[in-house]
């Protein structure tokens, strides 16, 4: 049995390595035949890695429930790939595969951490993918949505204020709402409406008066999040806004003053709020405060360090010694059991996603979609940076989830819908191009 555990450990590293390699090859090589070959490799690696992970867990703790869950996930992956590819042939296949790969890694590690949370995670993922299927179609159908920027903005603030008034407190942050017995984090959904609203408003114009008005609205949103004591969330919204503003106006003065204001705010937060001071303290010297404030980050560093480059193997480590390991600190659990190489590949896959989304933004003819995908790219990658940087002690921990991998319903739904909106943009970009070419071809004979 030990042989099998060790071998699957190495196999998983090889598989994710191969997957990552092809993910970048597709971006670099423009040749269709090469790309096709890489897509096949990536799909193969996805299913093999998913299988290897479950195999390794199953031989150690066999149960029928595990088989059922594995089967369910495989069906979900196959359905997503075939349905999406058939309904929207023009979407980015790499992005779709990356999404499934990250989901699969999340499923595997969550199987090992908490089977109950996994069941929830799989169900919510299935639900989100079903909704996601309609997203590109809705975007095509309701193109007028972009005219309601202000409404989205005000709605977002309204939801956040509502949370402040009637929300539940958990892990020291008041950011949970319970409706019909379902507890969720409205902040996650506001992420989408926020980027949508900012992109729509700046698409209409970037005169100084408008910039002031939008800035006030964005500031209100960020403040509402600060009052929820969710500093990671506030930081993500703030950074996203500053960068969209910068790209929409092309004036570096806005970026500079935005970042300066942000630094000032961070310094003030450090001086004013104890829970900020504690985080910075725990970051500077986690082992000095190992019994209290530094406990979580110390355990995280132990996990990563003990795992080393190759990991100790699934179910062989002690990731559960890290508090909230399944959400904010999931990266450490992966690094411990699947290894440093595996963890680096995950970071590379996130960078890959970032490049692809930015690429859409660079190439799209519609300024609104350009801003929208850019905003999502910044929001997505900054969240990844905060989450991973925090658990490896590169930056102070801000308690942010890792998209697609961390357990948490609201986070998963938002990440999937965000990616499907991006796919929708990709789809419209391509189909418009096809239409234009078509018109051109039809027109050709007449000109001759």
């Amino acid at each position: 049995m030990h042989v099998a555990i060790e071998l699957t450990k190495y196999l998983m590293i090889i598989l994710i390595g191969t997957y990552t390699y092809h993910g970048y090859r597709v971006v670099v090589k423009k040749n269709k035949a090469y790309q096709e070959k890489s897509y096949r490799w990536m799909t193969f690696c996805l299913f093999m890695l998913h299988f290897a992970g479950y195999f390794s867990i199953y031989i150690q703790v066999p149960s029928d429930k595990l088989l059922l869950l594995y089967g369910g996930q495989v069906v979900l992956f196959i359905l997503v790939i075939t349905l999406y590819m058939n309904i929207y042939p023009n979407i980015s296949r790499v992005l779709l595969l990356n999404m499934l790969m990250l989901l699969a890694i999340g499923f595997i590690i969550l199987t090992r951490l908490s089977i109950d949370k996994l069941v929830r995670q799989v169900l919510i993922s299935g639900f989100s993918c079903t909704i996601g299927l309609f997203v590109p179609a809705i975007m095509e159908r309701f193109k007028k949505l972009r005219n309601f920027g202000w409404i989205f903005g005000v709605l977002g603030i309204g939801i956040l204020v509502l949370v402040l008034l009637v929300g539940d407190e958990r892990y020291g942050a008041t950011s949970w709402l319970t409706v019909l017995g379902i507890r969720f984090q409205p902040l996650e959904f506001v992420k989408i409406s926020f980027v949508f609203c900012i992109a729509a408003l700046f698409d209409e114009g970037t005169d100084f008066k408008r910039i002031c008005a939008v800035t006030v609205m964005a500031a209100a949103t960020v403040l509402a999040i600060v009052f929820q004591r969710d500093l990671g969330g506030a930081l993500i919204f703030f950074v996203t806004y500053v960068f969209i503003l910068y790209v929409a106006t092309a004036k570096s003065l806005y970026l500079m003053s935005g970042l300066a204001a942000g630094s000032l705010a961070a310094w003030m937060a450090y001086r004013m709020f104890d829970h900020v001071k504690v985080r910075v303290m725990a970051w500077k010297n986690p082992f000095g405060y190992i019994d209290n404030e530094g406990y979580q980050i110390s355990q995280s560093l132990f996990a990563i360090g003990t795992g080393g480059w190759l990991g100790v193997g699934l179910l062989q480590g002690l990731p559960t010694s890290i508090p909230v390991v399944d959400s904010d600190f999931v990266f450490s659990a992966i690094a411990e059991e699947l290894g440093g190489f595996f963890a680096i590949c995950i970071i590379l896959i996130y960078i890959n996603c970032f490049m692809i989304i930015i690429n859409i933004s660079l190439k799209h003819w519609d300024n609104f979609y350009c801003l929208l995908s850019f905003g999502f790219a910044v929001m997505f990658s900054f969240q990844v940076f905060l989450s991973i940087g925090g658990v490896i002690k590169f930056i102070p921990s801000t308690g942010v989830t890792l998209p697609f991998i961390s357990s948490g319903g609201s986070s998963i739904i938002t990440s999937i819908i965000m990616f499907m909106i991006i796919q929708g943009i990709f789809h419209t970009g391509k189909s418009e191009k096809v239409n234009k070419q078509h018109i051109h071809k039809v027109g050709e004979p007449n000109e001759e």
């Binding site: 190992i290 900054f382 991973i388």
Partner: protein, 466 residues
């Protein structure tokens, strides 16, 4: 589109963030993680011990001090061939890791053997042998110190002055780490107040007695550049507001120079000296010698104490402090470091017990190099203190050492204990011109330094130089 260039600049910013994250992660795994995971708070040590057979701890002269053997039932047993001789410095694994077993726990539980066998073992789940730790400890010296201490309570520390290598560190009473489980209740209850679990050598705090006169002399020298002309008329005792400090054995030393006062350990003159030194410069001198802070050593230690400070002392206390009584406390390890610093020309080296780490196949994995802690004295100060310490052996309280072939310098101490017999001290080094070893000996509640500590030092020096 006009903002393409702008988007690219943002791409570079974010790629920069990601590259730095990757860089930090790689740096952590390559250079920092080994030290971090060694923390006793890391609950994963037990996970590692399921994959690796704990490595050996070996003395500098190649003798196994701790090893893991498999008994008839296939159980792993940690075995200490010299029983209680290395109990404190090598330590134990059961009932709370201590000593080298604690400091190098992860090292011992990591296997870096690179052979194909090791890889195969890893695959089929057979445990690989862990890395071995080679200490700086010298078995011959340790045994000599252990035997010389006999049944006394006390400690002996031997340091190589030029490197800071700890060649021997013995504390008594000790316990047998092989029987720790069986005897744990008795040991931890400690009904006889013997503290066998305590490493007296690095954790025991004692009044330094007359060994502190080295520091008093140095402080006096710094305050009085004409110290070579010092003279004092000893009447056998000195008095201040009803407190009398006597010279030992009620001797009257008469007219004496600084050298004679030092060699004869004249309490009257040093008490007077102590009260003449400004307390803040006395204190800062002591703190430059690592009083009031943890020693720069990877050996668990208690900070020595120098309590006098401006606004919190009296003339009486200053007089007592001058002769190493009062509130001043020191560990035997620290006192050995002071002797070693003088031997090493005023440069204090960081003491260490682990020389290198080797794979089970003998491949060098990590070597510890000597490190300077601080320079605390000038060469001329050192030369003068050396001449004083030489006279202690030629004409003073450690005359017994004069019969050795090697020339020794040192200082005895007799730390008085209210209601008990005194603690006997000796610190010193040899050979005086090119010191190879520095030594610190304490015997608890036995009597004078010359009578009880010097003979132990003699046996250890004899073992080294014979």
């Amino acid at each position: 589109m006009k903002n393409k260039k702008v988007i690219w600049s943002v791409v570079y910013i974010f790629l920069g963030l990601f590259v730095m994250t990757l860089g930090y992660f790689t740096y952590y795994l390559m250079f920092r993680s080994k030290e971090v995971v060694n923390s006793t708070y890391n609950l994963r040590h037990d996970v590692l011990s399921k994959r690796v057979i704990r490595g050996d701890i070996i003395s500098a002269d190649g003798i196994i001090l701790a090893e893991t053997i498999i008994d008839e039932d296939g159980e792993e047993i940690r075995s200490y061939p010299y029983n209680d001789m290395y109990a404190h410095v090598v330590g134990r694994v059961l009932r709370g890791r201590t000593g080298i077993e604690e400091v190098e726990n992860i090292t011992l539980l990591t296997s870096d053997s690179r052979s194909s066998d090791a890889l195969y073992n890893d695959l089929i789940g057979v445990k690989n042998p862990g890395n071995n730790v080679v200490s700086t400890l010298n078995h011959k010296l340790t045994k000599a110190a252990y035997d010389a201490l006999g049944d006394n309570r006390g400690a002996v520390v031997v340091i190589e002055p030029s490197t800071g290598k700890i060649l021997a560190m013995v504390s008594k009473p000790a316990y047998n780490p092989n029987d720790i489980e069986k005897n744990w209740d008795k040991l931890s209850e400690d009904n006889e107040d013997e503290s066998p679990l305590l490493n007296r050598a690095s954790q025991g705090l004692y009044p330094p007695g007359s060994t502190f006169k080295i520091i008093t002399t140095l402080a006096y020298m710094r305050e009085n550049p004409d110290y070579k002309d010092y003279s004092y008329k000893c009447k056998g005792s000195t008095e201040y507001e009803g407190m009398t400090i006597r010279c030992s054995n009620n001797r009257v030393h008469g007219n004496i120079s600084l050298k004679e006062a030092f060699a004869q350990s004249c309490n009257s003159s040093f008490a007077t000296m102590g009260s003449s030194i400004p307390v803040d410069s006395f204190r800062s001198l002591c703190e430059s010698f690592y009083f009031n802070k943890a020693l720069p050593a990877r050996v668990i230690n208690n900070p020595s104490r120098f309590e006098m400070r401006l606004g919190d002392y009296s003339v009486k206390e200053a007089m007592q402090t001058g002769i190493g009584q009062g509130r001043t406390l020191i560990t035997p390890l620290h006192n050995a470091m002071i002797a070693a610093t003088i031997a090493n020309g005023g440069i204090m080296m960081k003491p260490y017990v682990i020389d290198r780490v080797e794979s089970s196949g003998g491949r060098l994995l990590k070597g510890y190099v000597p490190e300077e802690a601080t320079q605390v004295m000038t060469l001329s100060e050192v030369d003068y203190l050396k001449s004083l310490m030489a006279s202690v052996v030629t004409d003073g309280t450690a005359k017994k050492l004069n019969k050795l072939d090697v020339k020794v310098g040192g200082k005895t101490g007799t730390a008085q204990q209210e209601g008990y017999k005194s603690h006997a001290w000796f610190i010193g080094f040899a050979p005086i011109n090119d010191p190879k070893i520095a030594i610190s000996v304490i015997v608890e509640n036995k009597g004078s330094g010359s009578e009880y500590a010097v003979p132990i030092a003699e046996k250890v020096l004899d073992a080294y130089f014979d």
